[in-house]
């Protein structure tokens, strides 16, 4: 196991290095820089002033020098300073990250609860009305665009029910109740497609297990229906469910960028978009890197959990 982790860490580091090059170069290809952002339209600008600003941001240096400076900073744990706000990038990320993580966790929680419950019921009551409702619902859930669902929910709640969540952001630790009221709809939207995915997987793997010999044996021994389902079948069906849920968590982390935009939540996704529009290179570069690390950590954790649940899989042996 230890050796496996070392190998994984090595390959992750290599991947991250590749990502730094990619993000860095892509940013340099965008037309327009922070300098134009700062000058604005209504100004007499001398070429010297432009040159002065370019120099200030180090934009007059060759790209490899700019790159190695950034990398050097990273190596010392310095994510850099945001050009547009003058704040350390790490502080901006830490301000925004809790929102994104909370949103992801709530959505995953919602998706797991709804998805597994629906999947089990659907498998046990196969081809009954409930099953059909779940299956159609899951298909719809997979097809509805997150932002449209969000828009429609806002429409429904604010205009027909005359209820509006607080529009002013409050973080969880300041006021948990208010915070959760704000997060309710976004988490619901974000989790819908995942719930559908999990429901489909749960149903399929439950059906597999329910058909197998030993479940029939257990049933023959006289164990009551639901006890069999919960005690034996679910446990064995869990492996594919966990895999899917883990994958979903990564997908949801990316999905937050749209949900944050629809519900205007101050998360990392919107920070990335904003920094790209502002041409705030240090902020974009380091934030994307940060998200990538998080994403890879989630994937690693899922793999580990997978190995733990299924003893047949052993890494690095």
């Amino acid at each position: 196991m230890g050796r496996y982790l070392v190998v994984r860490a090595y390959s992750m580091a290599l991947t991250l290095l590749g990502l730094t090059v990619l993000v860095f170069l892509m940013l340099r290809l965008i037309p327009g820089t922070v300098v134009e952002q700062m000058i604005g339209a209504d100004a007499v600008v001398s070429p010297e002033m432009v040159a002065q600003l370019r120099h200030f941001f180090g934009l007059d240096q060759p790209w490899w020098l700019q790159y190695s400076r950034w990398l050097g900073g990273l190596a010392q744990g310095d994510l850099g300073t945001s050009w547009r706000t003058g704040k350390p990038v790490v502080r901006l990320i830490l301000e925004r990250l809790p929102v994104t993580i909370e949103l992801t966790l709530l959505a995953v929680g919602f998706a797991l609860v709804l998805g597994i419950a629906a999947g089990i019921v659907s498998a046990v009551r196969r081809d009954r009305a409930v099953d059909n409702v779940v299956r159609v619902g899951a298909l719809l859930g997979l097809s509805v665009p997150v932002f449209w669902q969000g828009t429609m929910l806002i429409l429904f709640f604010s205009i027909y029910l005359r209820w509006m969540p607080p529009v002013v952001w409050v973080d969880f630790f300041t006021d948990p109740r208010r915070n959760l009221t704000i997060m309710l709809l976004p988490a619901l939207c974000l989790g819908t497609a995942s719930a559908a995915n999990i429901a489909r997987t749960t149903r399929a793997s439950m059906l597999d297990v329910l058909r197998s010999e030993y479940i029939r044996t257990a049933a023959a021994k006289g164990l009551a229906g639901w006890a069999v389902v919960m005690k034996h079948a679910l446990k064995n069906a869990l492996i594919p469910i966990v895999t899917v849920a883990g994958l979903q968590m990564g997908i949801l982390l990316g999905g937050t960028v749209v949900v944050e935009e629809v519900f205007t939540l101050p998360g990392v996704g919107r920070l990335v978009l904003w920094s790209i529009y502002q041409r705030d290179y240090p902020l974009t570069q380091s934030t994307i890197l940060f998200v990538a690390i998080l994403f890879m950590a989630i994937n690693l954790a899922v793999d580990m959990l997978y190995g733990y649940l299924d003893p047949r899989i052993r890494y690095g042996e």
């Binding site: 952002q37 339209a41 209504d42 100004a43 007499v44 600008v45």
Partner: protein, 513 residues
């Protein structure tokens, strides 16, 4: 809801019912109550706060919270004393002497002196894009502790407008020494000092206890919240989550005007939306083609779609620039849509078959996005195909500086003085020449106007300038949208300003019943 209409609005509207309403509200008859926190929301965050480095209007809007100018424009756009108590011009018109108010304190307790004023403008001329407002100023010199001289290269009539404009805020040398620049910190003499700023979330400002206007500000704290979606701002106003907001999309006025818990404010704005024409591109070189464009565009339809009709058509000098206004008959006759005349002009210019041009739009500016398709549809009627091209802000600026476009939608917060309004944009050699054109008669008049200090003579010059503009069509002045603010009905003492700067918060107080 009750409406506050500015005096200007009343004069033109003239409706008895409106007047009665406004008069009824005018006398509050209540002593302002002090204390508590005032929360205002807006969609756009300031990209930085340095009043000399950041040209974005989101910065200018916030600057009066923390800084003062030497001179400021009142609601009628007359220059009135602010940090300067009084001023006079030397007989040759080359030296302006401003006497500073004594006992004005910065947020750090230091007293404002002429050295600060000199420092402010030295830094401005050296580093700021805003130096273009002060183009004719040669140098600034202290004249004792409480007086300062502005020496100009030629008589410069636009100086007061520049001082009271977006780049005229006075900073402290100590502030620069302490913070490097003032992008994330603030050190001024203004009614509020910056306490805390979470970018894209909120800015917290505390009352400046030593503010030089006695008794002001009334509230202890102002919070400027960012709520990026105006639909959410509307909801927040309705549910009482914020005290004040400024509407960017004027159609939302209709959603809020009947809410009993809110007070609405609406007045004419100095700024306007315009269609900029590059007079060096192909057919656009021909003045007849530009005239054809002007006759083809139905400005009131553009206003109707882009600002939901809440605004007015405008001459080159907008409504708040009262003393520079042409009479309505003088300019309205150029604005009556006449497609037949437009087609004839096009044919005379040899473009009877029409042609294709690009029309630039910045996607994050709602009035541009909404106005452009209307302009395009109307140009289509006379055979001109305007392909709408969405250009991101940073790229748009880059191309704007290089004059790389055919037509582009544009918007400006406006100008207090005709010199700043027209010289920079339209002078073919000494200005920025936004249109890449040359009208020698106009150049001459613009230079004369800058040198002329006598108001009556200036007025004659700029009347002629405006007529020349309307005839040569560098831009189409499309419309000037009204400024619309809403506050909770418990908010008293709020005033709008034609420049839409946040001057109005120093007098605000909350009437907690």
């Amino acid at each position: 809801m009750t409406m506050h209409l500015s005096r200007r609005e009343l004069l033109t509207a003239g409706g008895a019912a409106l007047a009665a309403l406004s008069v009824g509200r005018a006398a509050h008859g209540q002593a302002p109550k002090s204390g508590s926190t005032f929360v205002s929301a807006q969609t756009t965050e300031a990209t930085g706060l340095d009043p000399q480095l950041v040209p974005a209007f989101s910065r200018s809007r916030r600057s009066p919270m923390m800084y003062n100018q030497l001179v400021r424009f009142d609601a009628e756009m007359n220059p009135v004393p602010e940090l300067a108590e009084s001023w006079q011009v030397s007989p040759d018109g080359l030296t302006w002497t401003f006497k500073l108010r004594e006992g004005v304190r910065f947020h750090d307790g230091q007293e404002l002196s002429s050295a600060d004023v000199k420092f402010t403008f030295d830094r401005l001329f050296e580093r700021s894009p805003g130096k273009s407002d002060f183009i004719a100023v040669d140098r600034v010199e202290p004249a004792g502790r409480y007086a300062v001289k502005f020496v100009t290269k030629e008589p410069f009539a636009g100086l007061l407008a520049a001082l009271g404009g977006f780049w005229g805020f006075v900073i402290s040398e100590a502030g620069i020494k302490k913070h490097g620049d003032l992008n994330k910190a603030a050190l001024g003499t203004g009614p509020f000092r910056l306490e805390d700023w979470k970018v894209e979330q909120q800015m917290v400002l505390k009352r400046h206890p030593q503010y030089f206007k006695k008794g002001l500000p009334h509230v202890d704290e102002v919070i400027l919240r960012i709520i990026p979606d105006e639909a959410n701002i509307v909801a927040a106003l309705r549910t009482g989550q914020i005290h004040h907001a400024f509407l960017e999309d004027n159609k939302n006025f209709n959603l809020l005007k009947d809410e009993k818990t809110l007070t609405g404010y609406r007045s004419s704005r100095l700024g306007y939306d315009f269609l900029n024409i590059n007079a060096s591109r192909g057919p656009l070189k021909d003045v007849r083609v530009r005239q054809a464009i002007s006759w083809a565009v139905d400005r009131s339809q553009v206003l109707r779609v882009a600002a939901a009709g809440f605004g007015r058509l405008t001459a080159p000098a907008t409504a708040p620039m009262r003393q520079w206004q042409l009479t309505e008959e003088q300019w309205m006759r150029y604005y009556k849509p006449d497609p037949d005349r437009a087609r004839k002009l096009l044919a005379d210019a040899g473009h009877a078959g029409g042609f294709t041009v690009k029309l630039g739009v910045i996607p994050t500016f709602p009035t541009m996005v909404l106005g452009a398709p209307v302009v395009a549809a109307q140009l289509k009627r006379i055979g001109i195909t305007a392909e709408i091209e969405n250009v991101e802000y940073a790229v748009w600026i880059k191309r704007w500086l290089a004059r790389d476009f055919d037509l582009t939608m544009n918007t400006t917060p406006g100008y207090a003085d005709p010199d700043t309004a027209f010289f920079r944009a339209l002078h073919s050699t000494k200005g920025q020449n936004w249109n890449s054109w040359s009208v020698p008669e106009l150049d001459g008049l613009l230079e004369e106007g800058r040198r002329t200090l006598d108001p009556k003579k200036r007025k004659e010059i700029y009347d002629r300038v405006q007529i020349l503009i309307l005839e040569n069509v560098p831009h189409l002045w499309l419309f000037s949208a009204d400024t619309i603010d809403f506050t909770q009905a418990t908010v008293k003492g709020f005033k709008q300003h034609p420049m839409t700067l946040l001057y109005g918060f120093e007098g605000v107080w909350l009437d907690r019943a």
